[in-house]
Assembly symmetry: C2
Homo-oligomer: 540 residues x 2
């Protein structure tokens, strides 16, 4: 008898634990997860703010799941007929089949920004540990940059930080981020506090929609008092790497956009072909996937009715860690029941309340209707999550980190920044500069859509010649010739999408593809550059 759990978050990890505790040694429990660690999701904003290091917000699954088989692998698909999960393990390209008798799906949710052009390419997320780590690096990078730049526009963009979505994740992220900035500024003497702008953008008319109004009001006041601007009833239309455009067509110069919105089913869940509702797996009240005897789902990827005929949003279990932990217990009990020939029972749980930290040692807490604000709420927040952390080692490490953090300045260390893939699409708004004469040459561009203008000043006459560029046109070719500086200035005259690649990529393509090489050869030859060629070079 084999039970396979997909996903190692709160839902999956606690399910595997409970199953192991409840079932005898004749039942094998296996957990499949893309990472080999459990992420303590509520700590991600603190990782983003550098108050704890990434390694301390996670715990190796092998440590916390004794006698559970942990398989680090990416789930590709499920063959329900043959009762097998198809996974890819590590660097291996050969698929591996993992057979099951009962399957538990706890894969969580993904994001979909497709309705907001540019967001996928330019916004940071707060879903994974890597996201949080990247946010910390990114914020410090902006401070470093603002410290040295002489360009006022660049400085304003670098010092404007925007968080989209004012749920728990957005509010905690914006609060922690502001605290990181405030505590770092003494080390950046050329940045004055008034130059820093931090914005929280929310489509609804209030923040913390899941919290009682009174606490949300307190939280809003606290954030505003600490210099965070709330932009309520505001949606996001699009963004570039320099600007955010709202649904009211307001344009914000900002180089930091953190998107905590846009939840959507993961591609692997969609591929399973199971019934979905509101983008989540349709399950019965007992957490069994509709129409399946041996497949269960819980956590953020499942839509769990809390009563018969559920239809309103409040009739379903909210996607929180608190609920996922309870759902895990119910799934484990129900599988035990089914294995013992008994009927599974419906999931029932009443929220014990909600907690949010606001940064600067303040929080809000709603505990069984008992409301806490400010410092006490923050203490409860920390204590609650510390208690929930799996493993004594992790608890101790996080506590030590917190203590050190209170004693001194937060870490300003900007670890290696996340490298964007060199070949990628970049979006520009009408009026944006792509580059100026004299700038570093760091990309070769191809216009996909829109229109741009290139100004070239003749050094002898001082005359400027302007050339229009449209779809299919290229610019920045001199990079390939080894040029390190731009000789022209390029501006977008319409909203434009361009493909950018670096010199190495261009040369690899020229070496690999005859058609590509032939296309660029006349230009390169005119400039005396020989493109590398594979053996298949054309004659003549």
């Amino acid at each position: 008898m084999r039970i396979v759990v997909l996903g190692g978050g709160f839902g999956g990890m606690y399910t595997a634990r409970a199953l192991r505790r409840r079932l005898g040694a004749e039942v094998e429990v296996e957990l499949v997860n893309a990472e080999n660690y459990f992420v303590f999701q509520p700590l991600l904003p603190e990782v983003g703010a550098g108050s704890i290091t990434p390694a301390h917000a996670v715990s190796p699954l092998r440590f916390i799941l004794k006698d559970v088989t942990v398989r680090k692998a990416v789930v590709d698909s499920v063959d329900f007929a043959r009762k097998a999960v198809i996974v890819f393990q590590g660097i291996q390209r050969r698929p591996t089949e993992v057979p099951y008798d009962h399957l538990v799906i706890a894969l969580g949710q993904g994001t979909d920004f497709s309705r907001m052009p540019g967001l996928e390419e330019h916004a940071l997320k707060m879903k994974t540990l890597e996201d949080a780590r990247r946010l910390h690096i990114h914020v410090i990078e902006q401070l470093e940059h603002a410290q040295v730049t002489n360009l006022p526009d660049t400085k304003r963009g670098a010092l404007t930080f925007t968080v989209i979505g004012a749920g728990f994740s957005g509010v905690e992220t914006v609060g922690e981020m502001k605290e990181l900035i405030d505590r770092s500024l003494p080390f950046y003497p050329k940045i004055s506090p008034e130059e820093v702008r931090v914005k929280l953008v929310e489509f609804a008319p209030r923040i913390l929609g899941e919290m009682p109004q009174e606490l949300a009001d307190y939280a809003a006041k606290h954030l505003q008092k600490h210099g965070i601007e709330l932009m309520l009833e505001t949606g996001v239309k699009s963004c570039t790497h320099r600007q955010l455009v709202t649904n009211k067509d307001e344009v914000i110069d900002t180089r930091t956009i953190v998107a905590t919105i846009g939840n959507a089913p993961l591609p692997v869940v969609l591929r399973m072909g199971l019934p979905l509702q509101h983008g989540r797996l349709k399950v019965e009240r007992n957490l069994r996937v509709e129409g399946r005897e041996d497949v269960w789902a819980l956590g953020d990827c499942a839509l769990i009715p809390m009563k018969e005929g559920a239809s309103e949003r409040n009739d379903f279990a909210p996607p929180t860690a608190q609920f996922a932990v309870r759902e895990a217990d119910r799934v484990a009990r129900n599988i035990e029941a089914v294995l013992g020939g008994r009927a599974p029972e419906p999931f029932a749980y009443r929220s014990r309340g909600a907690l949010a930290s606001l940064g600067a040692r303040r929080g809000v807490a709603d505990l069984m209707g008992f409301k806490l604000k400010g410092f006490p709420a923050w203490v409860v927040w920390r204590a609650y999550y510390l208690a929930l952390l799996p493993g004594l080692g992790t608890k101790v490490r996080v506590m030590l980190n917190w203590t050190l953090d209170m004693l001194g300045a937060r870490s300003l260390v900007q670890l290696r920044s996340y490298r964007k893939p060199p070949m990628r699409y970049v979006y520009f708004r009408a009026g944006d500069r792509i580059y100026n004469e004299g700038d570093r040459s760091d990309g070769f561009y191809t216009v996909i859509s829109g229109a741009l203008e290139m100004d070239r000043t003749d050094p002898a006459t001082g005359e400027t010649v302007t050339r229009r560029l449209g779809p299919g046109d290229h610019f920045g070719e001199r990079l390939i010739l080894g040029a390190t500086r731009r000789r022209t200035t390029v501006r977008a005259v319409e909203d434009s999408k361009v493909l950018v690649m670096n010199r190495q990529e261009f040369l690899m393509l020229a070496e690999g593809f005859e058609a590509f090489r032939d296309y660029f050869r006349p230009y390169m030859e005119k400039h005396g550059v020989e493109l590398p060629g594979a053996g298949s070079d054309k004659e003549g």
Copy 2:
């Protein structure tokens, strides 16, 4: 009066500190570094082994350099005539000029693997914090993979770890790495200790060339006792991502190659056009760059004669932290002297000894001729470097980390692995499989050089057809059609170099380049795939 220091390692950081202490407020001291932190280089092997977290092996330069202007920027070039350093700051593409009156070059060294094909692409380094972090992730990834794979060849490659170069860095890295593996194995029940092979490859006939023979012998015995195989008098010829080929044409199946060899001048130092000797800047005994009044150099990038008429290797200062710190003091004194109209003095220092940790709480130490081995040497090693760590906060954090590490298992957390750029060259040796039928489709390939064979089995007849592929040929196109599994098997029949890209890159190229699109259109159309096209599509 402005003094600009390039580089924030031991040489640069300590120079800036000493200058600040010696000179009055009318002299501005500025330090330019690509990262905003000082890396404590001797701790990198411990970061690689996961016994301390990356953030604790570094210290923000802004913390440790009070009243020094810290500029996070990449040095592009130096205009010696105009006395200005040209830098690029952060994401900014516009060059910035940093004027100086005296310039101190302490940029360290880079690597050059060009004589060993495949090493640049497939070997890990141990130069930067990111390198060390990546090594830890990589080692855990191999254990995770060995735990789940059913393929004996894959398991053997995953469990073979190779370090090239048996200087301080190589010896400490191999010792720490072995300890990480030994302490992690209890959590990987499917790996037996005998399956793990750790090799140290060294061209010289002995390890730790800079240490007295007696200590090197002890170190060699210690490493061997702990299961590390020493391959002396062995050079490296080439490697792929699966194998290392020695200069004796021995082939080692290994997926982990750490190269601590191949020191070479950094491109930026070469671009300066200053006199070089043995790949390092030629300086006078007073650390002034030959032929320059206002340019100084120290640390690994400089070749510093310790006596008149220096010619033998031992006549020059060795590239160690110990020497760099003393050189920094001399540069600062000499600049002070020159500013005061006095003559600079030659650098003079006698090594106080050498230290190396060997893993498993053992070390070797040569202190002013007094030799220590084993546990006492290891304690001295830790104490010495703890004392050298700048800042109390960092000292405390590293000590706490060490303590926690002694109490429990090392962190098995495999943070997000380093993503290779999707478009890249990959090398295969004759006989290597590129992929097998049924494998995951994850790349589109173009042959640059060599020869491969593709086997395709007709599902109806069971007959296998073999096609030969040479330079300019493509394979794996079905990926573009959305195929997720391979239908063929491809093997290298000669040593081959191929260009690989992923589906997204292919589609971006098709959208951006007409010539590319036209070339692949017939194939795609035959399979009913419409390639995306920019507005410049050809008619008809």
